[in-house]
């Protein structure tokens, strides 16, 4: 019913085909911009400390926003007491969205960046090898933290924190049910304790089973770290299909099959309710679960305690690493050597690490969601943060430093690790749904990771 026919535009199909043809022709002929090639000269990429007695300049430091940003921000004043001529330009940025693009294009590159350990290997090509500057400290740093940052003989991150896995448990609920948590030394003991608890509290689902594919895989790596393994070895070769992984998956499968687990995503409404009701009483997780007891679980506050993880066999390691971060120094940064001084101060100078983990404005009792990875800072006898009231005034520092020293050596996380969640992470969830056996999870995931991730590198 259009009363006025406009001059009829060309048939849309022809227009589209023309456009597509044009873009293809333009695309294939090499008249586009050239892909720049940053120098990949590995030998010249070892950072050296500045020789200047009183170094001066400006550095740009990227951190994630939030409480940790505030902590680092406050520590800058302490840093400037030692190095008054270095101006720290501290920015809160969306690191995941920005860092990779910034490094690829080499524009306005920061001098130092806070980064997940798991992401270091993928970006190592554009980062400084800090092994020379780190040499005086390396023997005192948790081995696992150096390992995850080591690629082809270089070290590409200044280790920040250690995130030992701990077994958080509801001591009050267990006591009321007559279950003695001190008897738990292996995962078999944990299963036994869960059964006892369930017998005393019918309907309870004592052990946490992570339902997020990503966090589930992260937790799986914590268990694997305990056994000194991980999805890939130092050469990046897949080593998933192994007795260690089968043992871990069989344990998780048993928890699920025997109805001993609460299947929920970390701290979603179901998870919180199950924790508060006393149904879910065992939470094998990284030390940072401590924040949940402090902020999100007021009804059971004071009931929770932490202990080292059970071992996979008698005498085995009682902790594994789950998460953790480091500071990386991009090669295109203008004053990388000054940024190193900043991190050296924060991590290896008593004034620095005390400012980070000790009591401060943001955390009046100290930062108790991780511990330093630098030995002298993580002295069991000299806690930087105090006892945690929500953990019944337990000395979490002592538990965590002891656990941290148990973590076996490790290897760097392959750059495709997050991509593996589509396969390993998902298949793990399928197993918990009862649709796959542990062996199937390992076989299928290995095949898929190889063809979709490793072979596509």
């Amino acid at each position: 019913m259009q009363q006025h026919q406009p001059r009829r535009p060309a048939p849309i199909r022809r227009v589209l085909v023309l456009g597509l043809a044009a873009s293809l022709v333009l695309g294939v002929t090499a008249c586009g911009p050239s892909i720049n090639e940053p120098s990949a000269d590995a030998d010249g990429a070892r950072l050296q400390a500045p020789s200047d007695k009183s170094p001066s300049g400006e550095i740009t430091i990227w951190d994630r926003s939030g409480d940790l940003f505030e902590v680092f921000d406050a520590a800058i004043a302490d840093f400037n007491e030692v190095y008054p001529d270095i101006t720290v330009n501290h920015e809160a940025v969306d690191i995941d969205a920005k860092l990779q693009n910034t490094l690829i294009t080499g524009t306005d590159v920061p001098d130092g960046v806070f980064l997940d350990d798991a992401k270091v290997a993928g970006l190592a090509d554009s980062l400084w090898d800090v092994s020379d500057v780190l040499a005086p400290y390396v023997d005192d740093i948790a081995e696992q933290k150096i390992d995850v940052n080591s690629i082809n003989g270089g070290v590409y991150g200044v280790p920040y924190d250690s995130n030992p896995g701990l077994l958080y448990y509801n001591a009050a609920a267990l006591e009321a049910a007559g279950v003695d948590p001190t008897q738990i030394e292996t995962y078999d003991d944990l299963l036994e304790a869960a059964r006892e608890y369930q017998a005393a509290v019918p309907g309870s689902q004592p052990i946490h089973l992570e339902q997020s594919a990503y966090l589930g895989q992260l937790q799986l790596e914590m268990y694997a770290s305990q056994l000194g393994t991980s999805v890939a070895d130092a050469e990046g070769e897949l080593r998933l299909d192994s007795p260690e992984y089968e043992q871990i998956l069989t344990f998780l499968d048993t928890v699920q099959k025997d109805g001993l687990g609460t299947r929920a995503e970390y701290l979603n409404p179901t998870d919180i309710a199950q924790l508060e009701s006393g149904s879910q009483v065992f939470y094998p997780w990284a030390i940072w679960f401590s924040f949940a007891t402090q902020q999100l679980l007021p009804e059971t506050a004071g009931d929770w305690r932490a202990m080292p993880l059970p071992a996979w066999e008698d005498g085995g390691a009682q902790s594994g690493a789950m998460g953790g971060s480091s500071f990386v120094l991009p090669r295109d940064g203008e004053n990388s050597e000054l940024a190193w001084l900043f991190y050296e101060f924060l991590m290896f100078d008593e004034a620095g690490y005390t400012a980070v983990w000790g009591p401060n404005d943001v955390y009046p009792a100290g930062l108790n969601t991780s511990i330093p990875s630098y030995g002298p800072a993580a002295d069991p006898a000299a806690p930087l943060f105090g006892p945690v009231p929500e953990l019944g005034n337990q000395d979490l520092w002592a538990v965590a430093t002891a656990a941290s020293s148990e973590i076996p050596p490790a290897v760097p996380t392959p750059s495709w690790w997050a991509g593996a969640v589509d396969y390993l992470g998902n298949n793990l969830q399928r197993m918990l749904d009862g649709e796959m056996t542990p062996q199937e999870v390992l076989k299928t995931s290995s095949t898929d990771i190889t063809s979709n991730l490793i072979d596509r590198q």
């Binding site: 006025h4 001059r7 456009g19 409480d67 995941d96 969205a97 693009n101």
Partner: protein
């Protein structure tokens, strides 16, 4: 068929068409109000949840998301947010980009679309076809090439980098061509006979006639610029250049995409506070534009 002219708001549109009174008249009115009210509740409830939750203690947002106890309401999330993120300069930057980029799009997109709709010229179909292709191309894939280009130009962290890419976007051209195609040729020819130049036709005939479409494009352009974050996040890396959405994404990184930081609760509180603050100016703008929007629609109606 009469020669089309601009009319005063004399006609009444679709549902308002005068109808002979019938028995069932009041019932549809109630039914329509009911339908619209339900839809509105559905649209607004989540927003109200966010606005109200921003006043709750941060950990309560996570713990009991659906309960509201006014006695615990406070401004802590707002205070923390204003302290932690540069939301003020975010507003300023978004405002600047909005003003310039919006003006460029609202003027040049109809102008180019006018040419596509009403003229023949060399390579017209080729250009328009390419426009359609880029419309279908997910923008995320262009980010890295664009970023490399900005580096060559020395435009990283500048307003022109925030403004020019995506100004006069393919969609605006596509939509405006659609709208202008419906403008009767007789109207243009009549103006020509009256001695109007080609630009005069655009300015004095086409623009007034397409005001409803233009108002729609204005709303959409404002919203797109306001909501855009993928490009600003990568191109505006300094605090001084961060737009509002960049500020929001800096906060959101700690709680989305598998990220659960130890400050999960506090960040959620700050994020909801920032989102509330970000929403308000835009709401005010739309309410202010509302009258203009309707007037524009009536004034611009074309009688066939």
């Amino acid at each position: 068929m009469s020669t089309s002219t601009l009319t005063q708001p004399t006609f009444q549109s679709v549902a308002a068409t005068p109808t002979p009174p019938t028995r069932s008249r009041p019932r549809p009115a109630i039914a329509s109000q009911l339908f619209l009210a339900l839809l509105t509740i559905g649209f607004l409830a989540p927003v109200f949840w966010a606005l109200l939750s921003a006043f709750k203690p941060a950990n309560e947002i996570i713990r009991s998301p659906l309960s509201f106890d006014p006695s615990t309401f406070n401004l802590d999330n707002y205070l923390a947010m204003f302290h932690d993120v540069p939301i003020g300069s975010g507003f300023l930057n978004t405002g600047i980009v909005l003003l310039i980029k919006g003006a460029i799009t609202l003027f040049f997109a109809p102008l180019a679309a006018f040419a596509f709709a009403k003229y023949n010229f060399a390579a017209k179909n080729l250009i328009f076809g390419t426009v359609l292709i880029t419309l279908m191309l997910p923008t995320i894939v262009l980010i890295i090439p664009l970023l490399l280009e900005m580096k060559e130009l020395g435009w990283v962290n500048t307003y022109q980098a925030l403004i020019l890419p995506g100004a006069i976007d393919a969609f605006a051209i596509f939509w405006m061509r659609q709208v202008i195609s419906a403008v009767p040729d007789e109207l243009l020819d009549a103006a020509r006979v009256d001695g109007c130049g080609e630009f005069g036709i655009f300015w004095r005939v086409v623009l007034p006639v397409i005001r409803p479409g233009l108002a729609g494009l204005a709303v959409l352009t404002i919203m797109n610029i306001y909501n855009d974050f993928v490009w600003p996040v990568v191109i505006a890396s300094s605090d001084q250049m961060a737009t509002l959405q960049v500020v929001l994404s800096t906060l959101a990184q700690n709680i989305t995409g598998n990220r659960i930081g130890a400050d999960y609760a506090t960040v959620t509180g700050e994020l909801l506070a920032a989102s509330s603050v970000a929403l308000i100016p835009l709401l005010v703008l739309f309410i202010a534009l509302q009258r203009h929007f309707i007037n524009g629609i009536l004034a611009g109606s074309v009688k066939g």
